[in-house]
Symmetry: C3
């Protein structure tokens, strides 16, 4: 983020950046033809936009926190094949707000949260993983990943895909949790080289399953090189 107020004043849409090569922006009054194209309800004059080259769930969990704290609705969540050389997703997230101050506030909260959640995206020379858990899923995690509202929700993702499968298997054996969403390269995902499960249950069980998956996926990815490190330190 360029700390240059002159520069920022020229870019009314720009809000800031976060880890995963994420940029946050707002549109105060969306153009009517663009609105029509994207099937955006007239209820929302303003859009909040978050878009990243790296990460899917970190941004989803972050936007979920933003949606809990503000008056916005998730309109678009798309997962391009990206991760800048790794085998996962980037993202495009658009939410609607009645005015630009709501949109901007939601983007600001989400950017700050992404810088926390991106700690749980890890890479080494070859593999990557995302491992997240919340005690309290909000409307965005519900909408995207079928997470039960106000229940614990965990996200287990690793690539190459077979490592994600082993991580999912050990996670499920480690604690009494249920699977509410999943993806393989060609099912629910965008031809990424990953397997993902979304799990629910008591928070303690979800936490245990996610931590178990983290340990196993980390060890397996490490056969290709270094112990996987958080992306937080090198894609901001």
């Amino acid at each position: 983020m360029a700390d240059n107020s002159l520069f920022q004043s020229d870019l009314t849409e720009y809000v800031g950046t976060a880890a995963g090569h994420t940029i946050g922006m707002v549109i105060a009054n969306v153009d009517s033809l663009v609105r029509e194209l994207l099937h955006i309800s007239e209820e929302y004059a303003s859009l909040g936009i978050l878009t990243s080259r790296t990460g899917a769930a970190a941004q989803a969990y972050a936007v979920d926190e933003a949606a809990k704290a503000t008056n916005v609705e998730l309109l678009i969540f798309e997962l391009p094949r990206d991760t800048e050389g790794y085998s996962g997703h980037g993202n495009l997230i658009v939410f609607g707000a009645r005015d630009v101050s709501d949109a901007r506030r939601a983007v600001e909260i989400a950017l700050a949260e992404i810088d926390k959640k991106a700690e749980y995206i890890y890479i080494n020379e070859v593999g990557h993983m995302e491992m997240h858990a919340t005690a309290n899923a909000g409307p965005v995690l519900h909408q995207i990943f079928n997470a039960p509202l106000r229940k614990a929700f965990g996200f287990i993702c690793a690539g190459p895909a077979g490592i994600g499968l082993v991580a999912a298997d050990v996670a499920m054996k480690s604690a009494p949790v249920d699977i509410v969403w999943y993806g393989t390269p060609s099912i629910n995902l965008s031809m990424t080289n990953e397997i993902i499960i979304g799990i629910t249950g008591d928070y303690g069980a979800v936490r245990k399953a996610v931590d178990t998956a983290y340990e196993r996926a980390s060890e397996l990815i490490e056969v290709f090189g270094k112990k996987p490190e958080s992306i937080l330190y090198f894609t901001r």
Copy 2:
């Protein structure tokens, strides 16, 4: 392009290279089983082939010029997820010709045009964009992007995808143009991390909209690093 006639004489298919890691080739008489596989009409003995790791619209506009100047028909236009580490497309373009001299001439024109149009593909450390305009859309832009024939046609593309959305919005507000084609990662595109609009209108209006989108997308991509530069200087 290797300027080595001995080498070229051994490779009857090879015509040349252009920016975006593009290669141009011809097949004088396509094999009958390959013809059947690709549903190529018997009308065309010869194929002209252009294929690139980086770029979609630059090559489309270039092939449009080639099709205006020669007697060929576009048969295949596919957009793989590529761009060599960036979040856009590469391309596969095949056109049919009655004889190999027509096919070769069209490929030669297209390669020369790609070296001009690729000036308008820009990248920096993280983002990319393509911004094109023509006063006079030909049969290829009509066929691929629904551009009205012999009218002005502009192409606005930026990634990560959210930047493309802001660029599209400011472009539409800057001039009286209409949207005739669009793409998001999972709509009309190949899971690329981009948003694209194809626009029409008076040439002055299309030019204004494309230039406005260029300025805004360039400023937004620049928050991730350098001012975006044309790929012309490093993917030939």
Copy 3:
């Protein structure tokens, strides 16, 4: 592959690594919810898993050899868009076995075979290709690529996609072979920048066609840089 038995003893799933950034693993008794998710028959308690960032056919041919020599059945074969910066596929391969020793044995055979077959995946600065032939297709090549059982089967793949088209054309003209499978970026493939054909016929004819395709694709890819080299020497 880390030659550290202490390390391996902690990771009951880990079997080994091979070229193409491939890892081989087993699950002795797959979790019942994961089984249900992936529609795995109760017949199979154990899973063998192979997953790679680079390569499609090398791994398919290798797993075909493993399936011929052991008592396993291919359950999942998915081709994510990957190849670590190149324009092809990675893979996810899961097979079922009645017990873990069968699963492990099949994974061990497959890993050893991948280190042989990956010799026929080649890259240079821009392009890539895979060129394989067997005299005797087994159940895996039959299931994935429609190869006639116990007949010769050849695989011709090159990218950028247009080079694959020329390679396919010269191959078909060089010997009396038939096409039993094919892919373009958006047909049968995962938005990769490739064209692929799978061919059958007498082994001599299949060998001739594959060798001809290799020569032509290699020369065409070389216009972008060095003569393409086997990945065997740098993605293990």
